[in-house]
């Protein structure tokens, strides 16, 4: 290797190092900035109390509940649909035009900006199907939004289940369905769960799709047909309408911490999944 190339090697290394530092710096700066401004506002009361005067005072208890309910609704709708689709695509079809179209469709769905889902949900669920601003409208809208993620991750997880395990099951006289239920899904479960947890993260952080469909009520919901406000919507309204920046940052802090925890959980499950595949 000539000296020239040694120099190039060093320069490249330095640049890559700088890029990495910039990336990490941006990430930590944003998180640090929000936590610095918000963490002071966190207290037991902030978690447990109802908001007063539009959120200027008080806590975010119903907002936390609203976020959880909406996310659960979305996951309970999209989970079975997505996993079912993934099982169909991987186990019941061969690669052909139709599966390619379904996959292409799912990928397109994943690329659509969330505000478009919001508008679609508003027109279809809120207006046309007369569900109003409600948990169910918001949940349905979010479920469409996270469906591609669940389908794709479940598909990958199912594909990763070693083929010999299926063969053994068939050779013992297992039917396709028995093989899927008793062998394939349990083996793929950690991977499927990872997809679901990533989707939960997306739901929790989603604003545009939710503000159109779930509304922004500050009360505790009584039924699926009541409007709720999620943390990200609350943050948006508090800061946008200049109600209380302090509470906005505090809400954002809660949001960031919960998403951090969700991601941590998904890494932990993924880690276990990989260990299981390696047979430990």
């Amino acid at each position: 290797m000539s000296i020239n190339q040694n120099i190039i090697e060093k320069i490249v290394k330095i640049f890559l190092w700088i890029f990495t530092i910039i990336t990490i710096f941006i990430l930590f700066y944003i998180v640090g900035f929000i936590l610095k401004n918000g963490i002071g506002g966190l207290s037991k009361e902030f978690f447990m109390e109802f908001p007063k005067s539009m959120g200027r005072e008080g806590g975010i208890f119903p907002i936390i509940i609203g976020t959880i309910l909406l996310t659960l609704a979305a996951v309970f709708i999209a989970g079975p649909l997505g996993i079912g689709t993934a099982v169909y695509l991987t186990e019941y079809t061969r690669e052909n035009r139709i599966t390619q179209m379904i996959r292409f469709g799912a990928d397109c769905l994943a690329g659509i900006p969330s505000i478009v889902f919001g508008l679609f949900g508003f027109v279809l669920f809120v207006i046309k199907l007369k569900m109003g601003w409600s948990i169910i409208s918001g949940g349905l809208t979010l479920s469409i939004m996270i469906l591609p993620t669940i389908i794709r991750t479940s598909e990958e997880a199912i594909k990763a289940v070693p083929k010999p395990l299926r063969e053994v099951s068939y050779s013992l006289g297992g039917t396709k369905w028995q093989t899927i239920v008793f062998i394939v899904i349990p083996q793929a479960l950690p991977g499927i769960l990872t997809g679901i947890i990533l989707s939960i993260g997306r739901c929790v952080g989603e604003t545009a799709a939710v503000i159109f469909t779930a509304g922004s009520s500050l009360r505790l919901p009584n039924s699926l047909f009541d409007s709720v406000r999620t943390m990200s919507v609350h943050f948006y309204i508090l800061s946008r309408e200049g109600i209380s920046l302090k509470n906005a940052y505090a809400t954002a802090s809660v949001l960031i911490i919960s998403i951090g925890m969700i991601n941590f959980l998904s890494y932990w499950i993924m880690h276990r999944f990989i260990r299981r595949i390696e047979g430990k």
Binding site: R94, P164, L165, E167, V168, S169, Y170, S171, L172, G173, G174, T175, Q178, F182, I183, Q187, R276, G279, K280
Partner: protein, 281 residues
């Protein structure tokens, strides 16, 4: 090459003549025939993998299929429990009988068939579950017995597979923690717990060391009292040691099928002789 060694493409009289020489070492013992393969051909897409195979599988005997890699012996084995059905682009002609019933009939119950004709694979492949769950899988999918008798069945199949003493205290620990030959024994136990009639073994010892191989071979010898066994092996010594009948395959043709003794001491076909004396393969 003798006239009789040439497998006829078609034609009844020729096949009869050939049957006298090689198709039927079991002649005179018709009662003992468990499975019969008739004019079996198999194609992977355009590739003609099995060419007009005729042979019989004797009850409570070990039949070995030998031949060089790619000769079609595993493919032939997998036609016996229709495992080739799951592979795309496979076309099969000819017939295979189990107790005089054609297993390729439309209305045959595939799960029922595979329960009767079980399989042990080349690579020991327990499910990544506990030993207990591995064994109860077959019972669960076939709805065999009440849970109360499962323990009894588990003990029996583990004893039959010579694994009981090794695992009786850790039935609920992962099957993946077992050694390779224990895993293979577990696979055999997992199979015999559902009481199959025929056991197909696809190079069951090829990933095992000589001592483990010896143990599995001894196990096969005791199992043949209760089961009909067909084994694929590329290890000729193994075929000579364990099997009662041997079939030699070459490029998809069954070149010679006879008593294992005859095959190894007085092969009729030059190609068989060349193979077993190690001139190729």
């Amino acid at each position: 090459m003798g006239r009789s060694m040439c497998l006829p493409i078609i034609g009844e009289p020729v096949r009869m003549a050939q049957g006298e020489h090689m198709g039927s070492p079991l002649r005179g013992n018709i009662m003992d025939i468990r499975m019969q393969i008739k004019d079996l051909s198999l194609w992977y897409g355009q590739f003609h993998a099995l060419k007009n195979i005729n042979m019989e599988i004797a009850e409570n005997r070990i039949t070995a299929l030998i031949g060089p890699s790619g000769c079609g012996k595993s493919t032939l084995l997998r036609t016996l429990n229709r495992m080739n059905d799951i592979i795309d682009g496979v076309k099969i002609s000819g017939r295979i009988f189990l107790d005089n019933k054609d297993i390729y009939q439309e209305n045959i119950g595939l799960t029922e068939l595979r329960k009767k004709i079980g399989m042990v694979f080349q690579h020991p492949n327990p499910f990544p579950l506990s030993i207990y769950e591995n064994l109860t899988y077959g019972l669960r999918i076939h709805n065999i017995g009440e849970k109360s008798i499962w323990d009894e069945k588990i003990e029996k199949c583990l004893r039959d597979a010579w694994l009981w003493d090794d695992v009786k205290d850790k039935l609920h620990s992962s099957a993946l923690d077992l050694s390779l030959d224990q895993k293979q024994k577990l696979c055999i136990a997992r199979l015999i717990i559902i009481e199959p009639e025929v056991i197909l073994m696809d190079e069951p010892c090829s990933t095992l060391d000589p001592i483990a191989t010896m143990k599995i071979e001894e196990l096969m010898n005791t199992l043949k009292k209760d089961y009909t066994i067909v084994i694929v092996t590329h290890n000729m010594q193994q075929a000579a040691r364990v099997s009662d009948y041997s079939g030699f395959l070459l490029l998809g043709e069954l070149i010679e099928f006879d008593d294992t003794n005859n095959i190894f001491t007085a092969p009729r076909d030059k190609r068989t002789e060349d193979y077993i004396t190690g001139r190729f393969g």
